[in-house]
């Protein structure tokens, strides 16, 4: 998987900041940002997660003309039984860890590309029995000058039964 063009846009950054409840002016007010050491509206630290919007094949976004596994007339829109489907059924994948290394401050106006590399995989026995399968992906975000901006490492876990916290 790769993302060819991830433009860092002002209104996207504003909406993302609102969605994490952050009213810091550095995320929407150009005049304010100019007076700070950043000099320009910047993106919140976890913003690159929203590169999913620019991934044409991102599997957690409904696509026109394709069945979606969320509810519609029935509790799921998938008409064929397919236990291997992403997230359908009890054994869906969950996010276990996320790490970011910041090489440069990400500012509005940058245009990133993302290259995804598979990382390690490992297995662990769950607390309540059942195998937990972990897999790591490393995403390198580079700007229009080819400079590394953020390295993101995500760890996903697939469970054999629904994970609950209590």
């Amino acid at each position: 998987m790769a993302i060819g063009k991830f433009p860092i846009e002002k209104s996207h950054v504003m909406m993302f900041a609102r969605s994490i409840g952050d009213s810091n002016k550095i995320y929407y007010d150009s005049e304010y940002a100019k007076q700070t050491e950043c000099g320009e509206i910047i993106a919140p630290p976890t913003f690159v997660q929203s590169s999913a919007q620019f991934d044409p094949d991102y599997f957690l976004r409904p696509k026109i003309g394709e069945e979606w596994f969320g509810s519609a007339k029935g509790p799921t829109g998938i008409t064929k039984k397919d236990s291997s489907g992403s997230g359908s059924g009890a054994g869906g994948g969950l996010h276990a860890e996320q790490h970011y290394v910041f090489h440069k401050t990400l500012k509005v106006g940058a245009v990133l590309t993302a290259e995804v590399k598979p990382g390690k995989t490992w297995e662990k026995e769950g607390r309540k029995g059942g195998k937990l399968k972990f897999s790591e992906t490393v995403t390198e975000y580079r700007d229009q000058d080819g400079e590394l901006v953020v390295t993101a490492t995500g760890v996903g876990v697939r469970t054999e039964r629904p994970a609950t916290s209590n």
């Binding site: 996207h12 909406m15 993302f16 609102r18 969605s19 994490i20 409840g21 952050d22 810091n24 550095i26 700070t36 050491e37 950043c38 910047i42 919140p44 630290p45 976890t46 997660q49 929203s50 590169s51 999913a52 919007q53 991934d55 991102y58 957690l60 976004r61 409904p62 979606w68 596994f69 969320g70 509810s71 509790p75 799921t76 997230g87 359908s88 059924g89 009890a90 869906g92 969950l94 996010h95 276990a96 860890e97 996320q98 790490h99 970011y100 290394v101 910041f102 401050t105 490492t153 039964r161 629904p162 994970a163 609950t164 916290s165 209590n166």
Partner: protein
């Protein structure tokens, strides 16, 4: 706001309430902005009847994002060098979360002063939902 190396010491901490009675709408806002439309976060019918969870729950990345707000309020904008977390428990609608950062080290790296921090976010029952670390550049 930025942090000056002379003004802080190992063991200093900062904390904030990062959400109060988390709404399903806030979770939907995060889905819309981030592009992660997994029905586990917004579709109560699917989540209960097909996936088998008691209710929709927040994206781990929403909790990480809100915890990141506490961090940037503490260390300043554009100052983070590293931020990483483990998601240790799910966050359900109605959650009230507090996030805390504690300075564990202050060190020199390539001519910069860096603070290492331990990060922890807990819910209204005292259960830790995020356990992480961060590093930030300081003024010197």
């Amino acid at each position: 706001m930025t942090l000056h190396a002379n003004d802080i010491k190992i063991g200093d901490s900062y904390e904030e309430e990062i959400c109060d009675n988390l709404s399903r709408t806030q979770i939907v806002m995060y889905a819309g902005a981030s592009g992660d439309y997994n029905p586990l976060h917004s579709d109560e019918i699917f989540t209960k009847e097909v996936a088998g969870y008691p209710s929709v729950f927040a994206h781990g990345m929403l909790s990480m994002g809100m915890t990141g707000r506490m961090l940037t309020n503490f260390v300043g904008d554009g100052r983070l060098k590293y931020y990483g977390v483990r998601f240790t428990a799910q966050v359900f609608p109605g959650a009230t979360l507090r996030a805390k950062a504690t300075i564990t080290d202050i060190r020199d790296e390539n001519g910069e002063k860096i603070a290492d921090l331990e990060v922890s976010t807990t819910n209204q029952e005292g259960i830790e939902v995020i356990k992480g670390k961060a590093s930030a550049r300081l003024d010197q």
